[in-house]
């Protein structure tokens, strides 16, 4: 479930033009956009956006993410680079590397990452 109240969540940032990939979808390839992106399905590939990214509870992401901010609630095996912040929710399972000005990991998250701050 997406937390609609937390600051910086895609729910506050995403516009009507946002890319939205739901839990029923399997995707592979690359997305390069200026829009906010919400993924709740299975995705393999790269994702680059000037906007925010949110990986929902049902998401299973493998690949590379470059974005302004990233929130992870699902499974991510990826290298994540975010200009502003990376927020790993308590329900997330994440491995790979994360790099951002602010990295926030909630208790309960299963984490196996190499983290660095900008």
């Amino acid at each position: 479930m997406i937390n609609l109240t937390k600051k910086g969540h895609i729910s506050e940032l995403v516009s009507y033009s946002g890319v939205f990939i739901g839990s029923e979808v399997t995707a592979k390839g690359s997305i390069k956009t200026e829009e906010d992106v919400f993924i709740d399905g299975k995705y393999t590939g790269s994702l680059e956006t000037l906007g925010a990214v949110e990986l929902g509870k049902n998401s299973n992401f493998s690949g590379l993410i470059k974005a302004r901010s990233v929130v992870v609630e699902g499974i991510s095996k990826s290298d994540i680079e975010a200009e502003d912040s990376i927020h790993i929710e308590g329900c997330a399972q994440i491995s790979g590397s994360v790099n951002s000005k602010n990295i926030n990991i909630d208790s309960g998250a299963i984490v196996k990452i190499k983290a660095s701050t900008k």
Binding site: Y16, S17, V19, I21, V25, T33, E35
Partner: protein, 266 residues
């Protein structure tokens, strides 16, 4: 010279009395025209192919939005120099966008001949101006639909209803001209002004995101073009059939659509 086209199978078919009224109003504006009936897309395509731009500079559809969609569907057959008009005979969302709220306003607009250039999109051998919805006649569990974008993003999703929208009117979205939305089930969607932005998105593209009924929001995506491999024939809301593999993209031709206001952006 104007040509007026009327779909003889339309649910909003005009009667002889209305036709006479329209003719009189047109003649007051010194517009003289032929009325031509068509009963199928094939006939419409033939009329367009035979239209000589030297003789006919304007073709006007009299009917409703469904008739106009059929009309636009074959517009690729028409010379792009010929202007297109719309004379709505029932409530029309397109007419509202063109600022022609009534038949009289439409006739005035036709007389003034203010032209908007509009981008249209092709979907296989047809075209659409604003949006088109596609669905399967039957849904079998486990069957997949493959969508590939121009950026080689490949998506597999369950067979569902697809809506393609031309977003070119919104300058903010010029870089992503087509929005593809897919959903399992459509219900009546009414966005509340107080809803969060995410909720508004969901209500715009589907209400199947309602978690109480077990339906899930599937996809909203933008691209310059899409290829859809459906595995089965698709149909649209007008009952027109489409091939199993569809290519959706910008038409090389624009259309010249008459509206109340000229195109100020160009």
């Amino acid at each position: 010279m104007y040509k007026y086209l009327v779909n003889k199978n339309s649910q909003s078919l005009i009667d002889e009395k209305t036709k006479l009224q329209i003719t009189e109003k047109l003649q007051k504006n010194r517009i003289y025209s032929d009325f031509i009936g068509f009963t199928s897309e094939k006939e419409l395509a033939e009329i367009f192919s035979q239209t000589n731009k030297q003789i006919t500079n304007t073709i006007v559809l009299i009917g409703d939005d469904n008739d106009f969609s059929i009309f636009i569907g074959q517009i690729g057959k028409l010379d792009s120099e010929v202007a297109i008009g719309y004379l709505p005979v029932s409530k029309s969302s397109l007419a509202k966008k063109l600022k022609i709220g009534s038949a009289q306003e439409s006739i005035d607009a036709l007389a003034q001949r203010k032209i908007n250039e509009k981008t249209i999109y092709s979907i296989s051998s047809r075209y659409f101006l604003e949006e088109i919805e596609l669905f399967f006649s039957d849904y079998k569990k486990g069957e997949k639909l493959i969508i590939v974008t121009d950026k080689n993003l490949e998506l597999a999703l369950p067979k569902c209803k697809i809506r393609l929208e031309n977003l070119n009117e919104d300058s903010f979205l010029e870089k992503t001209p087509i929005q593809l939305s897919a959903y399992l089930k459509e219900e009546i969607a009414v966005a509340n002004k107080k809803d969060s932005i995410l909720k508004k998105i969901k209500s715009k593209i589907t209400t199947s995101s309602n978690e109480n009924n077990g339906q899930k929001l599937i996809l909203s995506l933008h691209a310059k073009s899409f290829k859809i491999s459906a595995g089965d024939n698709l149909i649209d809301s007008l009952g027109r059939k489409y091939n199993q593999t569809l290519v959706i993209g910008k038409s090389p031709k624009n259309i010249r659509l008459i509206s109340k206001r000229p195109d100020l952006q160009r």
